[in-house]
Protein backbone atom coordinates (compact mmCIF):
# COMPACT_ATOMS: atom_id res chain seq x y z
CA UNK A 1 0.00 0.00 0.00
CA UNK A 2 1.14 3.49 -0.73
CA UNK A 3 1.58 5.12 2.69
CA UNK A 4 2.82 8.50 1.58
CA UNK A 5 -0.35 10.24 0.63
CA UNK A 6 -1.81 8.30 -2.30
CA UNK A 7 -5.47 7.66 -2.89
CA UNK A 8 -6.50 4.39 -1.22
CA UNK A 9 -10.12 4.63 -2.22
CA UNK A 10 -10.09 1.22 -3.90
CA UNK A 11 -8.80 -0.48 -0.78
CA UNK A 12 -11.96 0.25 1.13
CA UNK A 13 -14.30 -0.08 -1.79
CA UNK A 14 -15.93 3.32 -1.65
CA UNK A 15 -17.23 3.28 -5.21
CA UNK A 16 -20.83 4.24 -5.46
CA UNK A 17 -23.07 1.21 -5.72
CA UNK A 18 -26.37 2.35 -7.23
CA UNK A 19 -28.05 -0.87 -6.26
CA UNK A 20 -27.74 0.03 -2.60
CA UNK A 21 -29.03 3.57 -2.97
CA UNK A 22 -32.29 4.47 -1.42
CA UNK A 23 -34.07 7.70 -2.23
CA UNK A 24 -32.01 10.72 -1.23
CA UNK A 25 -33.40 12.41 1.88
CA UNK A 26 -33.76 16.12 2.29
CA UNK A 27 -30.37 17.74 2.78
CA UNK A 28 -28.63 14.70 1.26
CA UNK A 29 -26.15 16.96 -0.50
CA UNK A 30 -25.16 18.51 2.83
CA UNK A 31 -24.62 15.06 4.35
CA UNK A 32 -22.66 14.08 1.27
CA UNK A 33 -20.11 16.81 1.96
CA UNK A 34 -20.05 16.08 5.71
CA UNK A 35 -19.45 12.41 4.95
CA UNK A 36 -16.78 13.25 2.39
CA UNK A 37 -14.83 15.13 5.05
CA UNK A 38 -15.29 12.30 7.56
CA UNK A 39 -14.23 9.60 5.09
CA UNK A 40 -11.20 11.65 4.05
CA UNK A 41 -10.24 12.11 7.69
CA UNK A 42 -10.58 8.40 8.41
CA UNK A 43 -8.56 7.39 5.38
CA UNK A 44 -5.87 9.86 6.34
CA UNK A 45 -5.85 8.41 9.86
CA UNK A 46 -5.50 4.90 8.40
CA UNK A 47 -2.56 6.08 6.31
CA UNK A 48 -1.00 7.77 9.33
CA UNK A 49 -1.25 4.63 11.47
CA UNK A 50 0.23 2.54 8.68
CA UNK A 51 3.12 4.99 8.43
CA UNK A 52 3.50 4.93 12.18
CA UNK A 53 3.84 1.14 12.14
CA UNK A 54 6.94 1.55 10.04
CA UNK A 55 8.86 3.39 12.74
CA UNK A 56 7.75 1.30 15.72
CA UNK A 57 10.53 -0.81 17.24
CA UNK A 58 8.33 -2.87 19.50
CA UNK A 59 6.41 -5.57 17.58
CA UNK A 60 3.44 -5.04 19.85
CA UNK A 61 3.36 -1.36 18.90
CA UNK A 62 3.63 -2.30 15.21
CA UNK A 63 0.65 -4.59 15.57
CA UNK A 64 -1.22 -1.95 17.51
CA UNK A 65 -0.62 0.70 14.84
CA UNK A 66 -1.70 -1.65 12.05
CA UNK A 67 -4.79 -2.60 14.01
CA UNK A 68 -5.63 1.10 14.42
CA UNK A 69 -5.12 1.61 10.71
CA UNK A 70 -7.58 -1.18 10.05
CA UNK A 71 -10.10 0.30 12.47
CA UNK A 72 -9.89 3.70 10.75
CA UNK A 73 -10.36 2.03 7.36
CA UNK A 74 -13.40 0.34 8.81
CA UNK A 75 -14.74 3.71 9.93
CA UNK A 76 -14.27 5.09 6.42
CA UNK A 77 -16.12 2.11 5.01
CA UNK A 78 -19.01 2.58 7.44
CA UNK A 79 -19.30 6.25 6.51
CA UNK A 80 -19.20 5.30 2.85
CA UNK A 81 -21.99 2.81 3.45
CA UNK A 82 -24.06 5.55 5.09
CA UNK A 83 -23.50 7.71 2.03
CA UNK A 84 -24.78 4.93 -0.21
CA UNK A 85 -27.84 4.50 2.00
CA UNK A 86 -28.87 8.09 1.37
CA UNK A 87 -28.07 7.84 -2.31
CA UNK A 88 -25.01 10.03 -2.52
CA UNK A 89 -21.43 9.45 -3.51
CA UNK A 90 -19.25 10.92 -0.79
CA UNK A 91 -15.95 11.08 -2.60
CA UNK A 92 -12.80 11.32 -0.52
CA UNK A 93 -9.74 13.37 -1.28
CA UNK A 94 -6.78 12.83 1.01
CA UNK A 95 -4.80 15.06 -1.33
CA UNK A 96 -7.08 18.05 -0.69
CA UNK A 97 -5.02 21.02 0.40
CA UNK A 98 -5.72 21.05 4.15
CA UNK A 99 -5.69 17.29 4.54
CA UNK A 100 -2.51 17.10 2.53
CA UNK A 101 -0.81 19.55 4.87
CA UNK A 102 -1.96 17.51 7.87
CA UNK A 103 -0.58 14.36 6.27
CA UNK A 104 2.70 16.13 5.53
CA UNK A 105 3.00 17.26 9.13
CA UNK A 106 2.55 13.66 10.24
CA UNK A 107 5.06 12.39 7.70
CA UNK A 108 7.64 14.88 9.00
CA UNK A 109 7.35 13.16 12.38
CA UNK A 110 7.67 9.80 10.67
CA UNK A 111 10.76 10.97 8.81
CA UNK A 112 12.32 11.96 12.12
CA UNK A 113 11.26 8.59 13.56
CA UNK A 114 9.46 10.68 16.17
CA UNK A 115 6.96 8.18 17.57
CA UNK A 116 5.82 10.58 20.28
CA UNK A 117 5.31 13.37 17.75
CA UNK A 118 3.18 11.05 15.64
CA UNK A 119 0.98 10.22 18.62
CA UNK A 120 0.58 13.90 19.47
CA UNK A 121 -0.51 14.78 15.93
CA UNK A 122 -2.85 11.84 15.44
CA UNK A 123 -4.24 11.17 18.90
CA UNK A 124 -4.27 14.59 20.53
CA UNK A 125 -4.91 16.85 17.57
CA UNK A 126 -6.64 15.00 14.74
CA UNK A 127 -8.67 12.70 16.99
CA UNK A 128 -9.91 15.66 19.09
CA UNK A 129 -11.29 17.13 15.91
CA UNK A 130 -12.84 13.81 14.88
CA UNK A 131 -14.34 12.94 18.26
CA UNK A 132 -15.91 16.36 18.81
CA UNK A 133 -17.22 16.92 15.32
CA UNK A 134 -18.59 13.37 14.90
CA UNK A 135 -20.36 13.66 18.25
CA UNK A 136 -22.03 16.94 17.20
CA UNK A 137 -23.03 15.52 13.82
CA UNK A 138 -24.30 12.38 15.55
CA UNK A 139 -26.75 14.43 17.58
CA UNK A 140 -28.47 15.96 14.59
CA UNK A 141 -28.05 13.56 11.69
CA UNK A 142 -31.10 11.40 10.98
CA UNK A 143 -31.43 7.67 11.62
CA UNK A 144 -28.53 5.33 11.06
CA UNK A 145 -26.38 8.19 9.79
CA UNK A 146 -26.53 9.88 13.18
CA UNK A 147 -26.02 6.60 14.99
CA UNK A 148 -22.94 5.80 12.94
CA UNK A 149 -21.38 9.19 13.65
CA UNK A 150 -22.09 8.82 17.40
CA UNK A 151 -20.76 5.28 17.54
CA UNK A 152 -17.58 6.13 15.70
CA UNK A 153 -17.07 9.21 17.89
CA UNK A 154 -17.23 6.97 20.95
CA UNK A 155 -14.84 4.43 19.39
CA UNK A 156 -12.34 7.15 18.50
CA UNK A 157 -12.48 8.51 22.04
CA UNK A 158 -11.84 5.06 23.49
CA UNK A 159 -8.69 4.35 21.59
CA UNK A 160 -7.12 7.64 22.63
CA UNK A 161 -6.58 6.13 26.11
CA UNK A 162 -3.68 3.90 25.12
CA UNK A 163 -1.81 6.72 23.39
CA UNK A 164 -2.54 9.04 26.28
CA UNK A 165 -0.88 6.62 28.71
CA UNK A 166 2.27 6.58 26.55
CA UNK A 167 2.29 10.37 26.24
CA UNK A 168 1.75 10.91 29.96
CA UNK A 169 4.64 8.59 30.74
CA UNK A 170 6.79 10.56 28.31
CA UNK A 171 5.76 13.84 29.95
CA UNK A 172 6.63 12.44 33.36
CA UNK A 173 10.22 12.04 32.15
CA UNK A 174 10.60 15.65 30.99
CA UNK A 175 7.51 17.84 31.05
CA UNK A 176 9.14 20.89 29.49
CA UNK A 177 10.55 18.89 26.60
CA UNK A 178 7.21 17.30 25.82
CA UNK A 179 5.30 20.57 26.18
CA UNK A 180 7.72 22.25 23.78
CA UNK A 181 7.18 19.46 21.27
CA UNK A 182 3.40 19.71 21.64
CA UNK A 183 3.59 23.45 21.07
CA UNK A 184 5.75 23.08 17.96
CA UNK A 185 3.30 20.58 16.48
CA UNK A 186 0.36 22.71 17.62
CA UNK A 187 1.66 25.62 15.55
CA UNK A 188 1.88 23.40 12.50
CA UNK A 189 -1.10 21.07 12.75
CA UNK A 190 -3.62 23.11 14.74
CA UNK A 191 -3.10 26.16 12.54
CA UNK A 192 -4.13 24.02 9.57
CA UNK A 193 -7.06 22.52 11.47
CA UNK A 194 -8.11 26.03 12.56
CA UNK A 195 -8.19 27.09 8.91
CA UNK A 196 -10.26 24.04 8.05
CA UNK A 197 -12.60 24.82 10.92
CA UNK A 198 -12.90 28.55 10.17
CA UNK A 199 -16.47 29.74 9.76
CA UNK A 200 -15.78 30.50 6.13
CA UNK A 201 -13.21 29.04 3.79
CA UNK A 202 -11.44 32.30 3.03
CA UNK A 203 -8.63 30.81 0.98
CA UNK A 204 -10.66 29.05 -1.65
CA UNK A 205 -12.35 25.69 -2.08
CA UNK A 206 -11.30 22.94 0.33
CA UNK A 207 -11.19 20.39 -2.52
CA UNK A 208 -13.38 17.95 -0.58
CA UNK A 209 -16.85 19.50 -0.77
CA UNK A 210 -18.71 18.37 -3.86
CA UNK A 211 -19.63 21.81 -5.12
CA UNK A 212 -19.58 25.03 -3.14
CA UNK A 213 -18.49 25.10 0.50
CA UNK A 214 -20.89 23.20 2.75
CA UNK A 215 -20.35 25.42 5.78
CA UNK A 216 -23.07 28.03 5.13
CA UNK A 217 -25.57 25.21 4.54
CA UNK A 218 -24.87 23.46 7.83
CA UNK A 219 -27.58 25.57 9.50
CA UNK A 220 -30.12 23.61 7.45
CA UNK A 221 -29.19 20.47 9.40
CA UNK A 222 -29.00 22.22 12.79
CA UNK A 223 -25.23 22.47 12.70
CA UNK A 224 -22.82 25.31 12.22
CA UNK A 225 -19.17 25.63 11.37
CA UNK A 226 -18.72 27.69 14.54
CA UNK A 227 -20.19 24.90 16.65
CA UNK A 228 -17.96 22.26 15.09
CA UNK A 229 -14.93 24.47 15.61
CA UNK A 230 -15.87 25.29 19.21
CA UNK A 231 -16.52 21.68 20.13
CA UNK A 232 -13.29 20.54 18.46
CA UNK A 233 -11.16 23.12 20.23
CA UNK A 234 -12.80 22.30 23.56
CA UNK A 235 -12.06 18.60 23.01
CA UNK A 236 -8.47 19.50 22.15
CA UNK A 237 -8.12 21.51 25.38
CA UNK A 238 -9.58 18.55 27.28
CA UNK A 239 -7.04 16.20 25.68
CA UNK A 240 -4.20 18.55 26.61
CA UNK A 241 -5.55 18.70 30.18
CA UNK A 242 -5.46 14.90 30.29
CA UNK A 243 -1.91 15.00 29.05
CA UNK A 244 -1.03 17.41 31.85
CA UNK A 245 -0.07 20.53 29.90
CA UNK A 246 -1.04 23.51 32.12
CA UNK A 247 -4.47 24.89 31.21
CA UNK A 248 -3.36 28.51 31.30
CA UNK A 249 -0.72 27.69 28.68
CA UNK A 250 -3.04 25.76 26.39
CA UNK A 251 -5.67 28.49 26.64
CA UNK A 252 -3.16 30.94 25.21
CA UNK A 253 -2.24 28.52 22.43
CA UNK A 254 -5.85 28.09 21.40
CA UNK A 255 -6.76 31.77 21.55
CA UNK A 256 -3.79 32.54 19.30
CA UNK A 257 -4.96 30.26 16.50
CA UNK A 258 -6.07 31.88 13.24
CA UNK A 259 -9.81 32.32 12.71
Amino acid sequence: MNTSGGNIERVVGLERSPMECTSAPLNALIWEDVLAQAITGELLAAMNYTSLSEICDDPAEVADALEHAEIERGHAARFAAEARKIGVNAANNVGAKHWKRLREAFLRCVAERDFIGCLIVQEIMLESFAVASYARVGRVAPGSLGKTFSTIAAEEEEHVDHAMAILRAERALDAQRLDDKVYRLHLDVMSTLAQMLAKECKDGHCEVCHNSCVKPALFDVSLSAAELRGASLRQYLKALDMLGVPGEVTLTWVTQLPV
Binding site: K199, A226, R229, G230, A231, L233, R234, L237, K238, P246, G247, E248, T250, L251, T252, V254, T255, Q256, V259
Partner: protein, 383 residues
Protein backbone atom coordinates in the same frame (compact mmCIF):
# COMPACT_ATOMS: atom_id res chain seq x y z
CA UNK B 1 2.86 42.07 28.02
CA UNK B 2 4.11 43.50 31.29
CA UNK B 3 5.62 41.39 34.03
CA UNK B 4 6.55 37.86 33.28
CA UNK B 5 5.06 35.14 35.39
CA UNK B 6 8.54 34.26 36.58
CA UNK B 7 9.10 37.74 38.00
CA UNK B 8 5.92 37.58 40.04
CA UNK B 9 6.42 34.09 41.39
CA UNK B 10 9.71 33.73 43.14
CA UNK B 11 11.20 30.24 42.77
CA UNK B 12 10.67 29.29 46.39
CA UNK B 13 6.99 30.20 46.14
CA UNK B 14 6.30 28.74 42.74
CA UNK B 15 3.36 26.40 43.00
CA UNK B 16 2.08 27.91 46.22
CA UNK B 17 -1.37 29.36 45.64
CA UNK B 18 -2.73 31.35 48.56
CA UNK B 19 -5.91 32.46 46.86
CA UNK B 20 -7.89 32.04 43.67
CA UNK B 21 -10.47 34.38 42.24
CA UNK B 22 -13.23 33.02 40.03
CA UNK B 23 -14.77 35.61 37.77
CA UNK B 24 -16.48 36.33 34.48
CA UNK B 25 -16.84 39.32 32.18
CA UNK B 26 -19.93 41.53 32.30
CA UNK B 27 -19.81 42.66 28.68
CA UNK B 28 -18.62 41.43 25.32
CA UNK B 29 -16.25 44.39 25.19
CA UNK B 30 -14.60 43.20 28.40
CA UNK B 31 -14.48 39.62 27.13
CA UNK B 32 -12.90 40.82 23.89
CA UNK B 33 -10.20 42.63 25.85
CA UNK B 34 -9.38 39.46 27.81
CA UNK B 35 -9.01 37.47 24.60
CA UNK B 36 -6.95 40.28 23.05
CA UNK B 37 -4.43 40.06 25.91
CA UNK B 38 -4.29 36.27 25.56
CA UNK B 39 -3.71 36.56 21.81
CA UNK B 40 -0.92 39.07 22.38
CA UNK B 41 -0.31 42.48 20.82
CA UNK B 42 1.30 41.05 17.70
CA UNK B 43 -1.93 39.36 16.58
CA UNK B 44 -5.00 41.07 15.21
CA UNK B 45 -7.77 41.14 17.81
CA UNK B 46 -10.58 38.72 17.06
CA UNK B 47 -13.62 40.23 15.35
CA UNK B 48 -16.67 40.57 17.61
CA UNK B 49 -18.64 37.83 15.84
CA UNK B 50 -15.77 35.37 16.25
CA UNK B 51 -15.51 36.20 19.95
CA UNK B 52 -19.20 35.46 20.42
CA UNK B 53 -18.74 32.15 18.62
CA UNK B 54 -15.57 31.05 20.37
CA UNK B 55 -15.94 32.17 24.00
CA UNK B 56 -18.86 29.90 24.97
CA UNK B 57 -16.71 26.88 24.11
CA UNK B 58 -13.76 27.82 26.28
CA UNK B 59 -13.70 25.87 29.54
CA UNK B 60 -12.76 27.64 32.80
CA UNK B 61 -9.04 28.35 32.94
CA UNK B 62 -6.47 30.36 34.83
CA UNK B 63 -5.76 33.43 32.75
CA UNK B 64 -3.25 35.14 35.02
CA UNK B 65 -1.25 35.01 38.20
CA UNK B 66 -1.66 37.69 40.84
CA UNK B 67 0.43 39.00 43.64
CA UNK B 68 -1.40 41.01 46.30
CA UNK B 69 0.76 43.13 48.58
CA UNK B 70 -0.21 44.25 52.05
CA UNK B 71 0.82 47.55 53.63
CA UNK B 72 1.95 45.35 56.51
CA UNK B 73 4.66 43.93 54.27
CA UNK B 74 3.02 40.60 53.50
CA UNK B 75 2.37 39.18 50.07
CA UNK B 76 -0.07 36.59 48.80
CA UNK B 77 0.11 34.75 45.51
CA UNK B 78 -3.04 33.93 43.63
CA UNK B 79 -4.71 33.00 40.39
CA UNK B 80 -7.51 34.58 38.45
CA UNK B 81 -9.67 31.84 36.96
CA UNK B 82 -12.01 32.98 34.22
CA UNK B 83 -15.17 30.93 34.04
CA UNK B 84 -15.88 32.22 30.51
CA UNK B 85 -19.59 32.56 31.18
CA UNK B 86 -20.78 34.40 28.06
CA UNK B 87 -21.92 37.91 29.05
CA UNK B 88 -25.28 37.41 27.36
CA UNK B 89 -25.94 34.09 29.11
CA UNK B 90 -26.26 35.28 32.70
CA UNK B 91 -30.04 34.91 32.70
CA UNK B 92 -32.11 32.26 34.41
CA UNK B 93 -32.26 30.13 31.28
CA UNK B 94 -28.57 29.31 31.66
CA UNK B 95 -28.39 28.53 35.39
CA UNK B 96 -27.49 24.85 34.99
CA UNK B 97 -24.86 25.58 32.36
CA UNK B 98 -23.37 28.38 34.47
CA UNK B 99 -23.36 26.37 37.71
CA UNK B 100 -21.45 23.70 35.78
CA UNK B 101 -18.95 26.33 34.68
CA UNK B 102 -18.47 27.62 38.22
CA UNK B 103 -18.07 24.05 39.47
CA UNK B 104 -15.43 23.42 36.80
CA UNK B 105 -13.65 26.65 37.76
CA UNK B 106 -13.82 25.60 41.43
CA UNK B 107 -12.35 22.21 40.55
CA UNK B 108 -9.58 24.03 38.74
CA UNK B 109 -8.86 26.15 41.84
CA UNK B 110 -8.81 23.04 44.02
CA UNK B 111 -6.47 21.26 41.64
CA UNK B 112 -4.17 24.29 41.71
CA UNK B 113 -4.06 23.97 45.50
CA UNK B 114 -5.61 27.35 46.25
CA UNK B 115 -6.10 27.77 49.99
CA UNK B 116 -9.02 30.17 49.68
CA UNK B 117 -11.24 30.90 46.69
CA UNK B 118 -13.36 34.03 46.20
CA UNK B 119 -16.38 33.80 43.94
CA UNK B 120 -16.89 36.94 41.88
CA UNK B 121 -20.08 38.35 40.39
CA UNK B 122 -22.58 35.75 39.22
CA UNK B 123 -20.25 32.94 40.35
CA UNK B 124 -21.18 33.91 43.87
CA UNK B 125 -24.88 34.34 43.09
CA UNK B 126 -25.01 30.91 41.46
CA UNK B 127 -23.31 29.16 44.34
CA UNK B 128 -24.23 31.17 47.47
CA UNK B 129 -27.27 29.00 48.16
CA UNK B 130 -25.69 25.82 46.79
CA UNK B 131 -22.29 25.36 48.36
CA UNK B 132 -22.96 21.64 48.43
CA UNK B 133 -22.70 21.73 44.63
CA UNK B 134 -19.01 22.60 44.75
CA UNK B 135 -16.57 19.77 44.12
CA UNK B 136 -14.88 17.93 46.97
CA UNK B 137 -12.61 20.47 48.53
CA UNK B 138 -9.59 18.90 50.25
CA UNK B 139 -7.70 21.89 51.71
CA UNK B 140 -9.46 24.62 49.77
CA UNK B 141 -12.11 26.87 51.32
CA UNK B 142 -14.59 29.02 49.42
CA UNK B 143 -15.96 32.43 50.27
CA UNK B 144 -18.53 34.37 48.31
CA UNK B 145 -16.74 37.54 49.35
CA UNK B 146 -20.08 39.20 49.92
CA UNK B 147 -19.29 40.46 53.42
CA UNK B 148 -16.52 42.78 52.22
CA UNK B 149 -18.73 43.88 49.32
CA UNK B 150 -21.37 44.89 51.86
CA UNK B 151 -18.72 46.72 53.91
CA UNK B 152 -17.69 48.82 50.92
CA UNK B 153 -21.30 49.55 49.92
CA UNK B 154 -22.15 50.71 53.43
CA UNK B 155 -18.98 52.81 53.61
CA UNK B 156 -19.81 54.30 50.21
CA UNK B 157 -23.32 55.27 51.30
CA UNK B 158 -21.93 56.86 54.47
CA UNK B 159 -19.30 58.76 52.48
CA UNK B 160 -21.83 60.02 49.92
CA UNK B 161 -24.09 61.24 52.71
CA UNK B 162 -21.18 63.24 54.12
CA UNK B 163 -20.29 64.58 50.66
CA UNK B 164 -23.89 65.58 49.93
CA UNK B 165 -24.55 66.93 53.41
CA UNK B 166 -27.26 64.36 54.06
CA UNK B 167 -28.35 63.10 57.42
CA UNK B 168 -28.37 59.30 57.34
CA UNK B 169 -30.68 59.11 60.34
CA UNK B 170 -33.46 61.01 58.60
CA UNK B 171 -33.17 59.13 55.32
CA UNK B 172 -35.42 56.54 53.74
CA UNK B 173 -33.37 53.66 52.36
CA UNK B 174 -34.55 51.51 49.47
CA UNK B 175 -32.74 48.22 48.89
CA UNK B 176 -33.43 46.62 45.51
CA UNK B 177 -32.55 42.94 45.59
CA UNK B 178 -33.04 43.03 49.35
CA UNK B 179 -33.27 39.29 49.92
CA UNK B 180 -30.00 38.44 48.20
CA UNK B 181 -26.90 37.95 50.31
CA UNK B 182 -25.50 41.42 49.57
CA UNK B 183 -28.88 43.17 49.69
CA UNK B 184 -29.90 41.65 53.02
CA UNK B 185 -26.44 42.35 54.46
CA UNK B 186 -26.77 46.02 53.47
CA UNK B 187 -30.28 46.15 54.94
CA UNK B 188 -29.10 44.69 58.27
CA UNK B 189 -26.18 47.12 58.48
CA UNK B 190 -27.96 50.29 57.45
CA UNK B 191 -31.52 49.75 58.72
CA UNK B 192 -30.68 50.69 62.32
CA UNK B 193 -29.04 53.89 61.06
CA UNK B 194 -31.85 55.26 58.88
CA UNK B 195 -35.40 56.46 59.52
CA UNK B 196 -37.16 53.97 57.34
CA UNK B 197 -36.33 51.01 55.08
CA UNK B 198 -38.02 49.91 51.85
CA UNK B 199 -37.20 46.37 50.86
CA UNK B 200 -37.74 45.21 47.30
CA UNK B 201 -37.17 41.74 45.86
CA UNK B 202 -38.91 39.17 43.68
CA UNK B 203 -39.37 36.47 46.32
CA UNK B 204 -42.29 37.38 48.59
CA UNK B 205 -41.57 34.71 51.18
CA UNK B 206 -37.99 35.81 51.68
CA UNK B 207 -39.09 39.45 51.74
CA UNK B 208 -41.54 38.71 54.56
CA UNK B 209 -38.84 36.87 56.47
CA UNK B 210 -36.34 39.72 56.18
CA UNK B 211 -39.02 42.31 56.97
CA UNK B 212 -40.00 40.41 60.09
CA UNK B 213 -36.37 40.07 61.17
CA UNK B 214 -35.74 43.80 60.86
CA UNK B 215 -39.04 44.68 62.43
CA UNK B 216 -38.14 42.56 65.45
CA UNK B 217 -35.07 44.76 65.80
CA UNK B 218 -37.30 47.85 65.86
CA UNK B 219 -36.79 48.89 62.25
CA UNK B 220 -39.60 50.80 60.54
CA UNK B 221 -40.14 49.76 56.94
CA UNK B 222 -42.11 48.30 54.08
CA UNK B 223 -41.71 45.38 51.74
CA UNK B 224 -42.86 45.18 48.11
CA UNK B 225 -42.15 43.10 45.04
CA UNK B 226 -43.10 46.07 42.86
CA UNK B 227 -41.18 49.29 43.31
CA UNK B 228 -44.32 51.30 42.54
CA UNK B 229 -46.08 49.95 45.61
CA UNK B 230 -44.00 51.74 48.22
CA UNK B 231 -45.79 54.57 50.01
CA UNK B 232 -42.67 56.70 50.40
CA UNK B 233 -39.93 58.00 48.16
CA UNK B 234 -36.45 56.78 48.94
CA UNK B 235 -33.59 59.23 49.20
CA UNK B 236 -30.97 56.51 49.57
CA UNK B 237 -31.02 53.59 47.15
CA UNK B 238 -28.87 50.47 46.98
CA UNK B 239 -29.26 48.43 43.80
CA UNK B 240 -28.06 44.91 44.57
CA UNK B 241 -30.32 42.79 42.40
CA UNK B 242 -29.03 39.78 40.51
CA UNK B 243 -29.78 41.10 37.05
CA UNK B 244 -28.31 39.53 33.96
CA UNK B 245 -28.02 42.94 32.30
CA UNK B 246 -28.42 46.61 33.28
CA UNK B 247 -32.21 46.86 33.13
CA UNK B 248 -33.38 48.52 36.36
CA UNK B 249 -35.40 51.70 35.87
CA UNK B 250 -36.06 52.45 39.58
CA UNK B 251 -39.08 54.67 39.01
CA UNK B 252 -40.22 56.79 41.95
CA UNK B 253 -37.34 57.94 44.12
CA UNK B 254 -36.47 61.36 45.51
CA UNK B 255 -35.14 63.58 42.72
CA UNK B 256 -31.83 64.12 44.49
CA UNK B 257 -31.51 60.59 45.84
CA UNK B 258 -28.14 58.99 46.45
CA UNK B 259 -28.07 55.81 44.37
CA UNK B 260 -25.48 53.08 44.79
CA UNK B 261 -25.33 50.67 41.88
CA UNK B 262 -23.63 47.61 43.37
CA UNK B 263 -24.57 45.13 40.69
CA UNK B 264 -22.24 43.05 38.56
CA UNK B 265 -23.33 43.44 35.83
CA UNK B 266 -24.56 46.92 36.75
CA UNK B 267 -28.22 47.09 37.70
CA UNK B 268 -29.23 50.51 36.39
CA UNK B 269 -30.53 50.65 32.86
CA UNK B 270 -28.91 53.24 30.60
CA UNK B 271 -32.52 54.35 30.04
CA UNK B 272 -33.09 55.02 33.76
CA UNK B 273 -33.84 58.72 33.98
CA UNK B 274 -32.27 59.97 37.19
CA UNK B 275 -31.27 63.54 36.29
CA UNK B 276 -30.83 64.86 39.83
CA UNK B 277 -29.70 61.66 41.50
CA UNK B 278 -26.18 61.18 42.79
CA UNK B 279 -25.24 57.80 41.37
CA UNK B 280 -22.08 55.91 42.30
CA UNK B 281 -20.77 52.40 41.75
CA UNK B 282 -20.57 50.58 45.07
CA UNK B 283 -18.94 47.52 46.54
CA UNK B 284 -15.48 48.29 45.20
CA UNK B 285 -12.25 48.35 47.14
CA UNK B 286 -8.66 49.31 46.50
CA UNK B 287 -5.61 47.32 47.52
CA UNK B 288 -3.17 50.11 48.28
CA UNK B 289 -0.18 47.82 48.78
CA UNK B 290 -0.46 46.98 45.09
CA UNK B 291 -1.72 44.19 42.87
CA UNK B 292 0.49 42.69 40.17
CA UNK B 293 -0.78 40.70 37.22
CA UNK B 294 1.19 38.27 35.09
CA UNK B 295 0.50 38.47 32.18
CA UNK B 296 -0.43 42.12 32.51
CA UNK B 297 -4.21 42.23 32.74
CA UNK B 298 -4.28 45.58 34.58
CA UNK B 299 -7.28 47.59 33.45
CA UNK B 300 -8.66 44.53 31.67
CA UNK B 301 -9.73 42.29 34.52
CA UNK B 302 -10.24 45.31 36.79
CA UNK B 303 -11.87 47.84 34.52
CA UNK B 304 -11.95 50.77 36.90
CA UNK B 305 -10.60 54.27 36.49
CA UNK B 306 -8.26 53.95 39.48
CA UNK B 307 -5.33 51.61 39.98
CA UNK B 308 -5.67 48.41 41.97
CA UNK B 309 -9.44 48.70 42.35
CA UNK B 310 -11.21 45.35 42.58
CA UNK B 311 -14.69 44.19 43.51
CA UNK B 312 -15.10 43.62 47.23
CA UNK B 313 -16.07 39.98 46.75
CA UNK B 314 -12.69 39.22 45.20
CA UNK B 315 -10.79 41.40 47.66
CA UNK B 316 -12.23 39.42 50.56
CA UNK B 317 -10.27 36.34 49.47
CA UNK B 318 -7.10 38.42 49.09
CA UNK B 319 -7.55 40.04 52.51
CA UNK B 320 -8.06 36.68 54.19
CA UNK B 321 -5.05 35.24 52.34
CA UNK B 322 -2.87 38.15 53.45
CA UNK B 323 -4.13 37.59 57.00
CA UNK B 324 -3.28 33.86 56.58
CA UNK B 325 -6.83 33.22 57.68
CA UNK B 326 -8.01 30.55 55.29
CA UNK B 327 -11.65 30.21 56.30
CA UNK B 328 -14.98 30.32 54.47
CA UNK B 329 -15.77 33.77 55.83
CA UNK B 330 -18.88 34.35 53.69
CA UNK B 331 -21.05 31.36 52.87
CA UNK B 332 -24.70 30.76 52.26
CA UNK B 333 -27.33 33.46 51.91
CA UNK B 334 -28.56 35.81 54.60
CA UNK B 335 -25.87 35.42 57.24
CA UNK B 336 -24.13 38.77 56.85
CA UNK B 337 -24.39 40.79 60.03
CA UNK B 338 -23.04 44.16 61.04
CA UNK B 339 -20.50 42.45 63.32
CA UNK B 340 -19.14 40.30 60.49
CA UNK B 341 -19.00 43.31 58.17
CA UNK B 342 -16.98 45.29 60.69
CA UNK B 343 -14.69 42.31 61.25
CA UNK B 344 -13.83 41.80 57.58
CA UNK B 345 -13.41 45.55 57.06
CA UNK B 346 -10.86 45.56 59.92
CA UNK B 347 -8.99 42.60 58.43
CA UNK B 348 -8.92 44.29 55.02
CA UNK B 349 -7.79 47.63 56.44
CA UNK B 350 -4.89 45.97 58.25
CA UNK B 351 -3.53 45.11 54.83
CA UNK B 352 -4.33 48.44 53.19
CA UNK B 353 -7.52 47.30 51.48
CA UNK B 354 -10.03 50.14 51.68
CA UNK B 355 -13.17 51.33 49.97
CA UNK B 356 -12.25 52.56 46.48
CA UNK B 357 -12.63 56.23 45.59
CA UNK B 358 -16.25 56.77 44.54
CA UNK B 359 -17.00 57.19 40.87
CA UNK B 360 -19.70 56.64 38.28
CA UNK B 361 -19.90 56.50 34.50
CA UNK B 362 -19.17 60.22 34.25
CA UNK B 363 -16.13 60.32 36.50
CA UNK B 364 -15.13 60.65 40.15
CA UNK B 365 -17.81 61.74 42.58
CA UNK B 366 -15.55 62.57 45.48
CA UNK B 367 -12.50 64.76 45.89
CA UNK B 368 -9.62 62.55 44.91
CA UNK B 369 -6.39 62.28 46.84
CA UNK B 370 -3.57 64.21 45.21
CA UNK B 371 -2.12 61.05 43.65
CA UNK B 372 -5.08 60.90 41.24
CA UNK B 373 -5.06 63.76 38.81
CA UNK B 374 -8.08 64.36 36.63
CA UNK B 375 -5.86 63.46 33.70
CA UNK B 376 -5.19 60.05 35.24
CA UNK B 377 -8.89 59.44 35.60
CA UNK B 378 -9.61 60.41 32.01
CA UNK B 379 -6.77 58.25 30.73
CA UNK B 380 -7.88 55.27 32.73
CA UNK B 381 -11.53 55.75 31.78
CA UNK B 382 -10.59 55.86 28.12
CA UNK B 383 -8.60 52.66 28.37
Amino acid sequence: MGDSIASVITPERAGEVDFALIGHQESWRAAADVLAVLRGPERTPLPDDEIKDILPWIPPRTVCHLEAASIAGKKAHGLYIESFIPPDRLGSGYVCENVARVRAAAAYAIQAGAKIVSLGGFSSILIEGNFDQLPERHNTVFTTGNTLTVAFIVQGIEKMCVLQGRDLESSTLLVVGATGDVGSGCARCLAPMVRRVLLNARNVERLHRLGAELQADGVDGEIATDLREFSAEADLVICAASLAAPSLLLGRIAPDAIVCDAGYPKNLSPKAELPGAKVFFGGLGQITGGLRFAPDFRGVLNRHPFPDVVHGCLLEGMALALERRFEPFSQGRGFITRGRVEEIARVAARHGIYRAPLYNGDGPVEQLPAIYSRAHFDRAACS
